[in-house]
C-alpha cells in the first residue's frame, strides 16, 4: 500500500487548489500517505500551496505565463503519475480541469469520475458519489485501478486557509514537450463580476418565466431588499446570455445550499433543482400552479410575478425589524 498512498491535487486556479488540498487532507487519515499539490506557474503559487497544507509541491515553472495554455502540462503530469503512481489525483472541475483530466485518463488507460459530490474511503476503497441523468439519479461507484482520477467542483471541499508554515518540500519538475500546440490568437475577458454563489446565504433565482432582459431589474430590486445574490437557471445564462454563466444553478453549474432560495419564474426542472434542493428554505413565485417547483417549496406564491415581485420588494423594505 505504501507506494500507492499519495493523494495529488491539481487546479489552474489557486483558490481551487486550496479547496482540493482541504479535500485531499480530509481523505489522508484513511489513506495514510502524504498530500502533493502539482503547481504550474510561479514559485509564489508553489509556496502558497505549502501554506495551504500540501506536504509537497511538484512545481512546473511556466516562464511564459498566461501565453501558454495550462493544458500543456498534460504530458508532464502523465509522466509524473506513471513514475510515482499516486493513489488518487483530484482535479478542480473547470473547463480546463476537465480537459486535463480527460486527456490524462486517455494516456493512463483509466477513466475519470467527474463532478464528484462526495469522496469517501470505505474499507480501503475509494467511494465516489455523483449525479447522473441531469440530476435525476445519484450514482455511487468504486473506481478501480492503480491511480484514480476524479474531478470536483467548487464548494465540494473546504479550503483549509493559509495556516501552515512556509518553506516545505518544493520539487521542480521538467517539462515534457507536448506533441501538438494550438496558437493563442486572442483572449476576450468576460464582463462578469466575480460571484460566489456557494457562499451566499440568500439567493434570488431567475427562471424563464421572466420574459425580457429589462425585467431583470424587478428581480434586482427584490435581491437588494433581501440582501441576496442573483442566480439563474441555465437557459438564462446559456442561450439568452442575460446573466454570466457563473450565476447559473444546476447539475452542470453551481450547487448551492443557502438559508433562503427564492425562485422567480423558475419551473423546477430536475436539472436545476438538483443544484438547490438542499437549501434551508425554498420560496417560489410562478404563475403556473402545476409547475414542478411547487412540489419542492416551503412557501409558494402562485400568480403573476410582475405583480408579486414588486409587492414583495416593497413589503420587505417596509417591514418592521
Amino acid at each position: 500500500m505504501a507506494e500507492f498512498s499519495e493523494i495529488w491535487v491539481f487546479s489552474e486556479k489557486p483558490s481551487f487548489t486550496a479547496e482540493l488540498i482541504g479535500g485531499g487532507r480530509s481523505l489522508l487519515p484513511a489513506v495514510g500517505g502524504r498530500l502533493t499539490a502539482v503547481i504550474y506557474g510561479s514559485r509564489e503559487k508553489a509556496e502558497e500551496a505549502i501554506q495551504y497544507g500540501a506536504d509537497r509541491v511538484l512545481w512546473l515553472e511556466n516562464p511564459l505565463g498566461s501565453e501558454v495554455p495550462v493544458e500543456n502540462i498534460v504530458p508532464t503530469l502523465a509522466r509524473q503519475i506513471e513514475d510515482q503512481k499516486p493513489r488518487l489525483v483530484l482535479i478542480g472541475t473547470t473547463r480546463r480541469g476537465r480537459a486535463v483530466a480527460g486527456r490524462l485518463a486517455a494516456r493512463l488507460g483509466t477513466t475519470v469520475i467527474t463532478d464528484v459530490n462526495q469522496l469517501t474511503y470505505q474499507d480501503g476503497e475509494l467511494l465516489a458519489r455523483h449525479m447522473i441523468f441531469g440530476g435525476g439519479a445519484v450514482r455511487l461507484e468504486k473506481p478501480r485501478g492503480e491511480t484514480i482520477l476524479a474531478t470536483a467542483g467548487l464548494g465540494v471541499f473546504v479550503s483549509p486557509g493559509l495556516g501552515h508554515p512556509a518553506g516545505g518540500d518544493i520539487q521542480k519538475i521538467e517539462l515534457v514537450e507536448p506533441e501538438w500546440q494550438v496558437t493563442l490568437r486572442d483572449r476576450k475577458v468576460r464582463m462578469a463580476a466575480p460571484v460566489n454563489l456557494v457562499a451566499a446565504r440568500k439567493i434570488v433565482c431567475v427562471g424563464r418565466g421572466v420574459g425580457k432582459k429589462e425585467d431583470l431589474s424587478l428581480v434586482e430590486d427584490l435581491a437588494r431588499a433581501l440582501n441576496a445574490e442573483i442566480a439563474c437557471t441555465r437557459p438564462i445564462a446559456e442561450g439568452l446570455n442575460w446573466l454570466p454563466r457563473e450565476r447559473y444553478i444546476g447539475v452542470s453549474g453551481a450547487q448551492v445550499r443557502p438559508d433562503l432560495y427564492v425562485g422567480v419564474g423558475v419551473s423546477g426542472q430536475v436539472q436545476h433543482t438538483v443544484g438547490m434542493s438542499m437549501s434551508r428554505m425554498v420560496v417560489a413565485i410562478n404563475k403556473d400552479a402545476n409547475a414542478p417547483i411547487f412540489s419542492q417549496t416551503d412557501y409558494s406564491l402562485v400568480g403573476d410575478l410582475y405583480t408579486l415581485v414588486p409587492l414583495l420588494s416593497e413589503a420587505l423594505k417596509n417591514r418592521k425589524p
Partner: protein, 259 residues
Amino acid sequence: MNIIVCYKPTPDASDIVVRADGSISVERAEWILSPFDLQAVEAGMRLAEAAGGKVMALSVGPRQISNSKLKKDMLSRGPDELYLVVDDALAGADTAVTARVLTQAVRKMGSFDLILFGEGSADLYFQQVGLQVGELLCIPTLNAISKIDLEDGRLVVERSLEDEIEVLETSMPAALSVTTDIALPRLPSLKEILKASKKPVTEWTLTDIDVQGGTVKAHSEIVAVQAPPHVERKKVVLEGKPAEAVQSLVDALQKEGIL
C-alpha cells in the same frame, strides 16, 4: 472536408422509474437522441455546407442504439452516412471504454479532418469522451468550443472558459467538444426525413473493428444508483389577494428567522 460527429443515444431521463427501495430503473425508458449531440451535428452540418465535404455520424453502444427510429432521426438531421458499433457488452460503458471503441471505429472509417462531440452525454454527462478520443488519436483536442471557422485550411475556434473566451488556431485533424450554444439544431424537413431512410448505414461488431474483450472491461464498480435525496418541504401555498399573500410570506420568513 470530412467531419465525424459522435453521438450517444440514451434512455429518456423522464422515463426513470424510482423503485420502492429508492433505486432507479431505466428498463422501460424510451431511448432518445440528446440535445447536446444535436448541437454538435448542427455545427458539423454548417461547416460542411460552407466548406464542402460530408458529415458522418458515429455511435457505439448496446443494441438499443440501432433501432430504426433513432437511426432515421439522426440521419434526418443532415449527416450523409451513419456508422454504428453495436454490442451489448457496451451497455453502461464508462468513458474510457467508450473512447477506446470510438477511436477504433474512427480509425476504421478512414481519413477525416474533424471529429465533433457534444458537451456531454444526456445520461452520465461526464464531458470526457471527446477529450479522451482526441488524446488517443494524438491530435489537437479542445473542449468548450463555442464557434468554429475555417481559414486557409486551419481551424479558428472560440473556447468559452469560465472567465474568458480564448480565440485559438489549430491544424487539422482535430477533436472538438462543443458548447450547448454553438448552433441551434435545425428541425428536420420533410425532404430530409424522406432522404434519411436511403442514406448508407454501416453496422459493425466489436470484432469487426478489432476491439479485444479486455478493452471493454469496466474501470469502476457501480455500487448503487438511487433517486436523489428528498428534502421534506412545508408546501404552504399563500392564498389571498397578491398584497395579502406577499405580506403572509414576509411574516412567515420573519417568523422562521430567515430575514
